[in-house]
């Protein structure tokens, strides 16, 4: 039982990070039909911003981390949209998908060449201590990661639901034509979405890297998982991405222990295929109002 609780908590902790990436993924999809195959690299690279700022430039960590969020918002948000998504949008979905695949490769290679091909230790925001609850040993960073990731998503939900800008963004995502008629500046709303995705990626990166270590190849698994979480949960729902992320995190942890370690990667894949077969709109998704 204690093992189960431990697995559940570490699964939720990892899952909450997946959810951050998946939510960003979903936002981009809703706002601009961008399927971002570089999303994993987007989560990998901010950790290297932190390292470059703190280790190479000697800035203190408390300064390097906020700067990283800003850098990510600018580079992975604004620049990504301006330089890649915008000029390609008129070509349709396929070229953009290919371009994001290439972008993922580019980011990976740049980190490897310009920083290091080796894994790097990464400072943790939280003390590496454990709480003992009954038999179960629960690590403090796990809890902290979960709380921060969830807090971020809840804040995002509130922003989207309660503020004028947030509601305009939602209107843009649901029906850009109507939003335009209502006087919403669509381009700006789409841009906000990209900026938010950059910020989410940075937060996820800072939370996960103390455990994962900073390495250029980290995005490979993360991107895939975010992708699956988004589809399983429901591609057009932030709540869906959240549930999908947590679900995949828990399933991954549970399956290695209770199902088969050799096939632990298979379970999320099978879940993905089953969902597409049985409930293509995702667990929480609604039938898409807009066709692709």
């Amino acid at each position: 039982m204690s093992e189960f609780i431990q697995l559940l908590i570490s699964g939720l902790s990892a899952g909450s990070i997946y959810a951050l990436a998946a939510v960003g993924f979903t936002l981009l999809w809703q706002a601009s039909q961008t399927i971002n195959f570089a999303q994993g690299e987007f989560v990998m690279v901010p950790a290297f911003f932190v390292l470059a700022l703190s280790v190479k430039l000697g800035l203190p960590i408390w300064l390097a981390m906020p700067l990283t969020v800003i850098l990510s918002v600018l580079l992975l948000g604004a620049l990504f949209k301006k330089l890649i998504v915008e000029p390609m949008h008129k070509h349709g979905t396929i070229p953009l998908v290919i371009a994001t695949i290439a972008l993922g490769l580019l980011i990976k290679e740049m980190v490897k060449e310009f920083y290091s091909p080796l894994g790097q230790p990464f400072p943790s925001l939280f003390p590496q201590t454990v709480l003992t609850v009954g038999d179960a040993v629960i690590s403090v960073p796990d809890i902290a990661n979960f709380v921060i990731a969830m807090g971020t998503i809840v804040a995002l939900q509130l922003f989207l639901g309660r503020t004028r800008t947030g509601r305009s963004m939602q209107a843009t995502a649901q029906n850009p034509d109507v939003a335009q008629i209502l006087g919403v500046d669509i381009q700006r709303m789409v841009m906000y979405t990209f900026l938010i995705n950059g910020a989410l990626a940075a937060i996820a990166s800072i939370l996960i890297t103390p455990i994962y270590l900073a390495k250029f190849s980290n995005g490979e698994t993360l991107g895939l998982v975010a992708f699956i979480a988004a589809i399983v949960g429901g591609f057009n729902q932030i709540r869906g991405a959240l549930v999908g992320g947590l679900l995949i995190g828990v399933i991954d942890n549970m399956s290695a222990t209770y199902f088969s370690a050799e096939y632990r990667q298979a379970l999320p894949m099978i879940l993905l295929i089953v969902i597409i077969l049985v409930r293509p709109q995702g667990l929480l998704g609604t039938s898409e109002g807009r066709t692709v």
Partner: protein, 324 residues
């Protein structure tokens, strides 16, 4: 097919016959693997370039084909049996996999194939009793035909060249049949095609299954070429590599995948002076290409030609119709 095309194909074929003569083994090996990847990319071109669907599992179809061929030839049967079994199996798997995905339409084939590729990798690695696990399978013989051996590298090259020509002919025949017309119509305007009686779902499924079978056929070549296969050669990254071949060359163009495969295989060699940077340069090139010419290098060529001779139309099928 116009006379110009036939002439071009004939010259290309002559080059393919004469160029490797007297070359070193490495060059011959690279040419052989280029032919092999061209076949796989040709298949994906049918799925992507003609039917407008992204498949991220072409490497896993190669893997399935390679392992089937390995098991058949290691059991002592002739390679041809393995080849037929490989293509047949991948065709059927393509149908089974594509049917549910295409029932929901849109981008789901990309997602399903993505998951499928990972699943195939896991099965190949974990089912050691059948596939040799992560140690792979080794010692597959190169086939003999009527007493003619293909054991030496140059002999094997010609053997693959024959298979390549057969594949190219079959491909040409498919795209010039009414099916091919339906594929093209599907890519250019699926809604219109459907309204003219084209069962777009069925035709997309067939394009995907045939494309997969080409992947299986390429895999059947890899087994005797490398004489060692292991799961790592068929991971997702290799599917992406084949996808990039098709797109870089020019999706939907007959010679696109062949050009793309040549670029992907020769680029490391050409960019050797850049040392570790070649992948970066390649990735950046792909992005720029997608911005300026979603039709790939051949599309770019046409674009430039159209500049020079403004009468000809530039294709813009990737803009319209072709949806994920």
């Amino acid at each position: 097919m116009s006379r110009k095309h036939i002439l071009f194909a004939a010259i290309a074929l002559l080059l393919l016959i004469f160029v490797p003569m007297g070359q070193k083994n490495y060059i011959i090996y690279v040419l052989t693997s280029w032919l092999m990847f061209s076949i796989a990319a040709m298949g994906l071109n049918l799925t992507l370039g003609y039917a407008g669907q992204i498949s991220l599992a072409q490497a896993s179809f190669m893997g399935i084909g390679a392992y089937i061929t390995a098991l058949v030839t290691l059991a002592g049967y002739h390679w041809v049996l393995g080849w037929i079994a490989a293509m047949g199996a991948t065709f059927v798997i393509g149908l089974l996999l594509g049917y549910p995905a295409l029932r929901v339409q849109h981008h789901f084939l990309a997602f399903v194939t993505l998951a499928f590729n990972t699943l195939v990798f896991l099965v190949l690695r974990n089912e050691e009793w059948l596939t040799g696990g992560s140690h792979g399978l080794v010692g597959m013989p190169r086939p003999d035909f009527f007493g003619i051996s293909t054991g030496k590298n140059l002999e094997f090259y010609y053997f693959v060249l024959v298979l390549f020509v057969i594949s190219a002919l079959v491909f040409s025949w498919i795209v010039h049949s009414p099916w091919g017309r339906a594929f093209k119509a599907l890519r250019e305007n699926p809604v219109r095609a459907e309204s003219l009686g084209v069962d777009t779902r069925r035709i997309t499924l067939l394009a995907f299954a045939i494309g997969s079978a080409f992947g299986g056929g390429a895999g059947a070549i890899m087994t005797p070429l490398v004489q060692f296969i292991e799961p790592g050669s068929f991971g997702l990254i290799h599917s992406l590599k084949i996808l990039l071949m098709v797109v870089v060359g020019g999706a939907g163009f007959y010679y696109g995948p062949m050009l793309g495969a040549a670029v992907v295989i020769l680029l490391p060699e050409l960019l050797r002076f850049t040392e570790g940077y070649y992948l970066m340069i390649y990735a950046a090139m792909v992005i720029v290409l997608m911005v300026y010419s979603p039709g790939g290098l051949i599309g770019l060529g046409h674009k430039i030609m159209a500049r020079v001779r403004p009468k000809k139309e530039v294709r813009k099928d990737m803009a319209k119709g072709a949806q994920l």
